[in-house]
Symmetry: C2
Subunit: 238 residues, 2 copies
């Protein structure tokens, strides 16, 4: 197998990549793909990602849990926000959740139009995701959701973590892989401190989600790999 | 002054940046902006960047030198190719040169439509460029020309070199700045070896331009800063 692994640094560059025969890993570390991983691992039947709070209304009256935040607060009338701590077993087991996530949903929908398969990655399922990617006979594209189509550090660091784990199993790497892996190797002993350099760190501090950030950087807490099937993320059968 | 410096990793992301009050630095290290810097420093009256070899024909019969390459060879009937070694004083002093450069030209034209000012950077003029940027009362966008709209290592490393030199003079940095600077700091003691990790290194080896690459990584060989005025790059008066 002479497989290729590439990193697409923002959804605005996705059109440059041939992904028809690729598995695309969606990466939106703070906090969408971390919360999705944790929720599916804790037994949620399905998570439906939507782009806008208003889109949740399309799913009202079906018994789904609705998750939406504005400015770090749970929207009135909704069940919870985007914190991974909301996605614990007691709350989500057997439930279907509609989750608002702007950057992540956009990346998923764009990838789904062309990719062989779309899965979700986060530090929480890094190990199981890489173990699975290793034994698929497919090229891999790591798609960073970024921030409003711009590059961000946390998604790129996680892409680098995957590249670092899969280096021996792939032959072709693009320049973004090289950069992401080197950044990850540089930062991996203290990811949280490294992210303080981020332009988002002020924004994050204002949202008062420091505990969420710490949680989203934990390694290998989950086994589940969420996979996109039509409009729902469900647990990949492995 | 509370100035912002940002790195746009490829021209495909330029629309995301507000540059109306910014100086945009065009970066296409292998080899367009290196050859342009060297040519202007060596007294070329002007360099006109064009995207396609065919575009050179619009400038025929005006006494200009025409520079075009296909697959690493000078196109028959043209005066020279894109190697910086062609842009020595004996050949270019007082002359106007039409230079074919796909990624670089595209980046310049896109930036020119909105930016306050467009200048050209390379390792060859790093010091004088940074000295000048320091004392302008403007935000700065470092625009990597990349490779066919994708991220590349060499342009990003150079953007990182600028950020590293200007860190004390600017207040706001985006995530791309952080990544580019850290990559540069990691690679700076041996840029050539670092670039061997690049996906382009095979392509570069095939073009037989190793001496060009070595030259394009030399620091501070030139004082000139090329500036875009209408369709021509000329020496900035400083």
């Amino acid at each position: 197998m002479s497989r290729t692994i590439e990193v697409c640094l923002t959804p605005a560059l996705l059109h440059l990549y041939a992904i028809e025969n690729s598995i695309v890993v969606i990466i939106d570390i703070l906090r969408a793909t971390s919360s999705i991983t944790y929720g599916i691992d804790n037994g949620a039947a399905a998570i439906i990602p939507v782009e806008h709070v208003e889109d949740c209304l399309n799913y009202a009256d079906r018994g789904f849990l609705l998750a939406a935040e504005r400015n770090g607060e749970v929207v009135t009338g909704y069940d919870f926000g985007n914190s991974p701590f909301s996605y614990v077993k007691d709350k989500v087991e057997g439930k279907t959740i509609v989750l608002t996530t702007t950057n992540g949903t956009k990346a998923m929908r764009m990838a789904q139009k062309r990719a062989h398969q779309v899965v979700v990655g986060s530090f929480l399922n890094l190990g199981s995701l890489c173990d699975w990617l290793k034994v698929q006979d497919k090229d891999v594209l790591l798609l960073c959701a970024g921030w409003k189509d711009k590059f961000n550090l946390e998604d790129t660091l996680f892409a680098g973590a995957i590249v670092h784990k899969l280096r021996k199993d792939f032959v072709h790497f693009d320049d973004s892989c090289v950069a992401a892996e080197d950044m990850y190797v540089m930062a991996k002993d203290d990811l949280r401190t490294y992210l303080h350099k981020s332009s988002h760190s002020h924004r994050l501090a204002q949202l008062n989600i420091e505990e969420d950030v710490q949680f989203c950087l934990k390694l290998d807490l989950c086994k589940a790999i969420p996979v996109l099937e039509e409009d729902q993320l469900v647990r990949l059968a492995i």
